[in-house]
Amino acid sequence: MSSSNTGGPEEPFLRAAGMTKSFGSKVVVDDVTINFFPGKILALLGENGAGKSTLISMICGQYRPDSGSLTVHGKTCTFRSPKDALKAGIGVVYQDFRLVPPFSVVENVVLGTRSRPNRRAAARIEEIAAELGFQVPTHALVQDLVVGQQQQVEIIKLLFRGLDILILDEPTAVLTPQQSSQLFTALRAIADSGKSVVFVSHRLAEVVESADHVTVLRGGRVVADQPAHGLNKSDLALLMVGDGIATTTRAARNRPVGHSVLRLKNASTAGQGRDVLNGASLELHAGEVVGVAGVSGNGQRPLADVVAGIVPLTSGTRETQEERIAYIPEDRLGTGLVGSMTIAQNLQMRDYRSEKSGNPWWINPKTLLAQAEPLIEEFHIPAAASIKVSALSGGGQQRVIVAREVRDEPRILVASQPTRGLDVVSSTAVREHLLDIADKQGAVLVISEDLDELLEVCDRILVMVGGEVVAEVPRKEATRLSLGLLMVGSPDGEASQ
């Protein structure tokens, strides 16, 4: 507002130009330019890993861009911390709320401001809430509020500070459809009062219905930046997932698909939120690779745990005769390995109890090292057997897990995000191992956020939404577009209503 020398009323509140950020050798955000306009709702759309969160983090002062410039109200800014961004009028509502549960609503709202949690503050909060149609008891403790109300407190926090750029990171992920529509009504009211609202999403319907403008990121780059008016869901899905042809680098193998080895019927797991199983069914056959696609947090992790047999069901059934089930978990160092132990020890963690270890009671460190040597060579583990696993890179750690899980030709292999964070060479090696297991008449379940990977290795692809398997697509019929639409809950690849 300080400068209005050009552009007249269309002068943006914030302009981020040429934003670039790399982590290591990977460019996560690549020369992105984006504008936040007053009175407008902008939707930032993209798949997992498209660079949305990193871009937001740079705009709100969490990360410093490698290059690029931020202009807020016509002034060039360099944010050293989120505090600087707050001072410039930019606030973020994160997915995991930043509230103090045992504090009251008023206390949470005034926290970090110069106001005190007194009657005046409470009156101001009630005023803001009334304008937005929120019903927040100002003196209740935040821990006693439901999730939707906590989110409202977060929004009030930003408005109480008089910020004029509000960024919401996947705000509807935790809300019911009714709560979501209430949220968008409030966001519209905020925009109409002259503020700039930005929300991150991969739910197409709400983007089409609620946003004025859509910016789509893919692979760290802006692939679309246009008014929402006139866009339909299939346009957006195509923009989001790209129109790349499903590249099958490896000729389809002629594997005979054998008998059923595992059957899951209406399986549900305990827990809260969306990331549980909620009546999922699937069947695995010997000699086939089955993929699972889905927006992250729709029950993929519990599905992997259940098929691998390490998490019990609360209802439904799991039938299998197989004993040799291997599992490459999503979280390598957190679940699959013990960082404080050596490569040799980690490689032996499944087998040390069995006859193969040679001796029923004792463990000989020399034998352990000797047993590790051939695996280190075969699976190209880039360190000596006596090195601690925590000293390895992500790719090295994944090779250790793959070596341990694949070496005995398991009958069923569950691989969760098997190539996440790996370079091309490592990824190719891991995929080869998955296909080898299927060639040897094992059943392989691959859960991945990388659609290209699924299209490359799988014989058929299941799509998960809300803890259920909602669709099954044979590889020959699957495209990025059809899968993308199914993942965001638009069945049959139907275009916008």
């Binding site: 990360y63 410093r64 050293r80 911390s81 047999g309 390490i310 599992y327 978990p329 979280d331 957190g334 679940t335 699959g336 390995l337 013990v338 960082g339 404080s340 132990m341 020890q345 963690m349 499944r350 040390y352 109890r353 270890s357 029923p360 009671w361 004792w362 463990i363 000989n364 460190p365 925590s390 000293a391």
Partner: protein, 370 residues
Amino acid sequence: MKLLPIYLQRRAAISSRRAALLPIFAIATGFIVGAVVLWFSGVSPLDAYLEMFNASFGSAQGLTATFIRAAPLILTGLAVAIALRMQLWNIGAEGQLLLGSAGATFVFFTWPNLPGPILLVAAAVAALIAGALWALIAAIPRATIDLNEIITTLFLNYIALRLVSFLVYGPWQDPGAIGFAYSKPIPPQGAMGTIWGTDLTSGVVLSIVCVAITWWGIERTRWGFSVKILGGNPRAGAYLRLNAKRRIISIMAISGAIAGMAGFIQLTAVTGRLQPDIAAGYGYTGILVAFLAGRSLLMIPVVGIFFSALIQGGYSLQAQGLSSSISTVLQGLIVLFILLGGVAATYRFRWSWTSSNSSSGMVNLNSGAR
């Protein structure tokens, strides 16, 4: 607004060299700060430290006393350290030690006429079992209903103390000294022998043997391998379908048995009678021993002997009219500096008035973040 030009930058990992230097740094700093305390008490720190050294290592008599006191410290330290391998905090070595000595006393009073060697072995076994059972009272609820073992083991110490008091004033009281806080003496053939004609009892040797056996159990058996997996990463244990409950129970039973062994040594080598102060705080000092020894079981005898010398040296200061609590002060300071050093070792210190490089996890001391 900045008050100090200091920035802390988190290190990815602590090098093993740094980790090894940490105890040495902590001990040195502890003695330096202890010197200030001594100075303010009106004593020359150098004289006091020399006196402590002479009293603990400087004479045959001092050395004997240091090694005798080291035995229970090594064992309680080992008891705490082995439980820590499964990320369990056994604060109850004190009570398990008391129960161990009570178990041994029971054997001595029940079969007083057995020949010496048989009686000693039977009493040692009874001490192991009694200590293990006392630890299981805390271990079973921990394994089954996840009841916090820190609280239960701690409170069981007080119950153990009352139990021993009851035995000492009740069924096992010394008819010749009614009202005194000790039992009748154990039979003479139940006293632990000494080594090669010195006054040094075999307790310290026994305790080092226990350390060796335990180390071997952890490093060379399948059971130990599974303990290392579960202790190193409990989620990996669940993923590999290891039975954590059974390991919690077995590791706590072993921990309690080791502490019970300390009770046997105290009874047969030091007191000769059951008495409520037989544990003398060794169960708690054992926590410090385990802590200072870090992840290495084989360091425990060294640290145990060091702490014993510290206590022994502290008593010698009483002769100079000083409170023996200087050794407690030193123990506390050393542990404090281990903690501080452990945090400091994970950060790189940078001096600068501008936060020019604040992008990668820099913490400003002034903002008080983490």
